[in-house]
Symmetry: D2
Subunit: 142 residues, 4 copies
Amino acid sequence: MQRTVERMLRTSPEPPFAPADPLSACIHACVECAQACTACADACVAEHDRALDACIRLNLDCADICAATSRILSRQLDPDPGVISMTLQVCAVACDACAYECTQHGAMHPHCDVCAAACRRCLDASRALLATTVQPRRFHHH
Amino acid sequence: MQRTVERMLRTSPEPPFAPADPLSACIHACVECAQACTACADACVAEHDRALDACIRLNLDCADICAATSRILSRQLDPDPGVISMTLQVCAVACDACAYECTQHGAMHPHCDVCAAACRRCLDASRALLATTVQPRRFHHH
Amino acid sequence: MQRTVERMLRTSPEPPFAPADPLSACIHACVECAQACTACADACVAEHDRALDACIRLNLDCADICAATSRILSRQLDPDPGVISMTLQVCAVACDACAYECTQHGAMHPHCDVCAAACRRCLDASRALLATTVQPRRFHHH
Amino acid sequence: MQRTVERMLRTSPEPPFAPADPLSACIHACVECAQACTACADACVAEHDRALDACIRLNLDCADICAATSRILSRQLDPDPGVISMTLQVCAVACDACAYECTQHGAMHPHCDVCAAACRRCLDASRALLATTVQPRRFHHH
């Protein structure tokens, strides 16, 4: 799948809004993390263990945020630097929180272990991309 | 639709993680904004006007962010304060940027005017909810 | 929110691909149902009752399908009749299944009762829109 | 990413609802296709070519459907056969239509060529999974 991400970047009439390697790596990490979190939430529900409530919740939130992030990063036309920056930051926060929570249950529940690894890869990829791109942005005044 | 949002909050076994009125108002504003932005992107493509490129882009990004935000706010079980706070902040940034861009085209394209109003309502609702809830959160150390 | 849906339809440069009243009603019903299902899944997890496993699963699936349907119906430019028709059919099937399952738990869990009503409204709105629009479509031969 | 999909399937407390190989292949093909379609819609907007209107529209619809399909297939707990079957069918119809449309522009726009290939892989994967699983399902009578 990463080859498809890279090819889509290379064939766009717009140049990538950030260096192509960390950008394609982050898109790939986001879609992988979103899928792992969706599957981990389902597996955690199936465990019937109250100790996994926070894990289910974070999995679902992290899946939603990573899916939105992967879409936003897939667009090269006229990016808004403030939106990109904040999106990468919330992605990093969600992946960090979900990786932390999943790690608590990784020894007992191997799906949490697999998911935590995907979250950590996405956290690292988001931070790496953030480091190449962004400047803070102020609110517009209407 | 807002009545359904309120009823779902009232019937959850979990108390709302924030005061119910600004929370249900923000959920409602997010789903409204996501729909308006999706429709505005489509209408802008149909206008065949290069001046709307940035508007299409922001509409699509804002739709993705507001849709994710509406889902995250709809969950009351074990919320992570840092994830909630950052989600509301990226929602506010995206709505602010999209409202600003749509406003530039509102006189010529009435769909941009309708969309800008939805974005402003969502910006206000996000800020109002953010004011009731959140404290910053640090990264976990793995 | 339904007024915003209607205004976006009226201000698009493209005429609505189906009669405006059942179209806007179905978009509205889909976003309402997606939100109710997202909240009901969360509430069902919080109940810690194995009898709700199928309900959680259907809530999550139905939320994903209704969210995708609401986006697809929000676009008026060059609709593909086969995609629209199949989308409305899967929306109806998911809402029907989720309404049925939630109804089994409605007496004990009022969130399931509220959610079942939203699913039934969306089922009815999908069928009503399907009746106005669609013809089957064959697979293309590549 | 496919290894993560496979690991999540293997570590779930629930057995996969369909044979693991075509199931993981279809999940992977759906996330790849959703990403390619999102990027292709953006690239097509940037081409400023009216002949791509239908392609933009199908890309956006196909991205929404494949994203929803990837989530639904990622859940193993208590699947509803009718929902699964209809979801795979709408996924196949959307991928087929989008592959066909993108192919018309593939010679001139290489991003359409890359996207058409991803759509065809997802079409094939959906049909292959559909062949292993499903029986039609009737509407419930409330």
